[in-house]
Amino acid sequence: MRSGIAILTIVAFASVPLWLRDPYLMNALITTGIFIIGAMSLNLLLGFTGQLSLGHIAFFGIGAYVSALTSLGFDVGLPFGFRIVHVPWPPIVGFVLAIVVAGLCGYLVGLLSFRVRGAYFVIVTISFAEVVRLVALNWVELTQGPLALTNIPSITIGLPGLGDLTLRTKLQNYYLVLAVAVVTYVLISRLVHSHFGRAMRGLMENETLAVSVGIDVTRTLTLAAVISAGIAGAAGSLYAHYIRIIDPEVFAFINTVTMVIMVITGGKGSLAGPVVGGMIFGLLPVFLRPIMAPEAQWIAYGGVLIVILFVLPRGIVPSLALRFRKPKSRAETLAPVAFSERDAKEHA
């Protein structure tokens, strides 16, 4: 049943280019898809470990810059007269490096998260993103600062026997994004259903207790942060090679907010949540655009957000799942108010 829905969904998405010819909508779908991948990675942290990263765009942006710089080449001076000169490499290498470097940054932030949780983690991630943005803005020699990196090449994939395929068109990019999204989905799904996933949930709900049964906080949280950041980096790389220009604006806070909106409205901690939330809030602006004034579009956007949360406060997917599933367990529909929850909060 589960896998049936999954396969149907994939087929439906795969068939879109067959009937949708409008390049603008295709463009919207591709950028939405890229942000959905970012949102899925955010969900891994927020939904499964309970740590809200409000600087998630940092990993996305780092991925974008790494990938762009790898494929464009650069020449920077370092202190003490050292220079690094890098000649362009194929974008696909950039894609891989984007994952690796973003993952490494995730490792750093994850190490920090060993010390700080909750609100403190939130501010550390915001700070991290701001610092990265300021570096991108001010290290002009490497990143061109506000002048932006332009003419980023499209991704080229080497196909055995068929030579190289450069993904220039919308159609090709669409399938690329779809493929990465599916892989990401499967990866996250396997991960959260493994014992790592249970360890993450345990930490989220009651850390003291989780630790007392032998769950390693640092390892688990860092692992989640690394994987999450790596995926966000991959999304950033797709973004750079699709939009083909990248500047420090990519680190804008509103981009993180967009991902957070996608995750929470869709339902954090649910695998399909970011996809559903992402489709809604990725495409909503497209539909609002022709029908109202620009300021009103934003007001409507905020309004839709609020209404969804009022009607389905746990997020769309979990709330609907509860509504349509037979009450398998009698206690499921209520939020426990019992003692242990408060204890958990106190310990957090």
């Binding site: 396997r190 493994s194 014992h195 249970r198 360890a199 049964v213 032998g214 906080v217 426990p336 019992a338």
Partner: protein
């Protein structure tokens, strides 16, 4: 005398100016049931926190089966088989009882990340074994009826049972129980005593903190009494029961009835 499992040497804990424990020394032998009792605020839970790594002692050292525990993190200590329960109820409130136990079985279920992601057979069979074990544990604490309810929605006493089951799921070689029967009535306590004996018979060492004197007296091999962070008495239940200092500081006159 059996081999020493846990050794607490000269442990002191200060919170700012407050001395919660001072110069505490005691040992627990393999397979023993030792109780730690004392007035409220005597430092019993603090001692648990030191042993299980949640608190670094101001002075002193703890070792388990010859391994020094100083500087180890709580999860590393848990990996040595030293598992505790909490005085306050402690469960994973938004998971079902059954899933709580699956989390508790963490130490058992380890497979490599790659195996888990690729869904290799070893990961699958390990998963199946965990499920069986979780069902066993649910049955064992008598919560079958509640297995698929969220742990946070159970009553106080039921949550305490889940807490104990969780600790057992972690496969302790030594179990530290902090007031396990508080919130249970005499009959439930009676059943629980059987449980504790049962656990010990499987070779698990037990350190118990409890204010229920009948229970402590009936189950302990040895009792250590703390007052104001110091050990004031140590011995078999019979010795302790009649120790005037203990009666004065802790048991009160009613204890003679127990």
């Amino acid at each position: 005398m059996t081999a020493i499992a846990l050794k607490v040497e000269k442990v002191a804990v200060h919170f700012g100016g407050l001395v919660a424990l001072s110069d505490m020394n005691f040992t627990v032998g393999e397979g023993e049931i030792v109780s730690l009792i004392g007035p409220n605020g005597a430092g019993k839970t603090t001692a648990f926190n030191v042993v299980t790594g949640f608190l670094d002692p101001t002075h002193g050292a703890v070792s388990y089966r010859g391994t020094a525990l100083n500087g180890l993190k709580p999860h590393q200590i848990a990996d040595l088989g030293l598992i505790r329960t909490f005085q306050r109820t402690s469960v994973f409130p938004n998971d079902t009882v059954y899933d709580n136990l699956l989390v508790g079985l963490h130490r058992r279920g380890r497979v490599s990340l790659l195996e888990a992601i690729l869904g290799l057979p070893r990961a699958r069979s390990s998963h199946r074994r965990l499920r069986e074990r979780a069902s066993e544990l649910v049955e064992w604490v008598g919560l079958e009826r509640r297995a698929h309810d969220l742990a946070g929605s159970l009553s106080y006493g039921e949550q305490r049972l889940v807490g104990v089951a969780l600790a057992l799921a972690a496969e302790p070689s030594m179990l530290l129980l902090d007031e396990p029967v508080s919130g249970m009535n005499a009959s439930e306590t009676h059943t629980f005593v059987q449980l504790v004996r049962n656990i010990r018979d499987r070779g698990v060492t037990i350190l118990l903190v409890e204010h229920d004197m009948p229970m402590v007296m009936s189950v302990s091999d040895r009792i250590v009494v703390l007052n104001y962070g110091r050990i004031i008495a140590e011995g078999t239940p019979n010795v302790i029961r009649n120790d005037p200092a203990v009666i004065e500081a802790y048991l009160g006159q009613g204890a003679t009835r127990a």
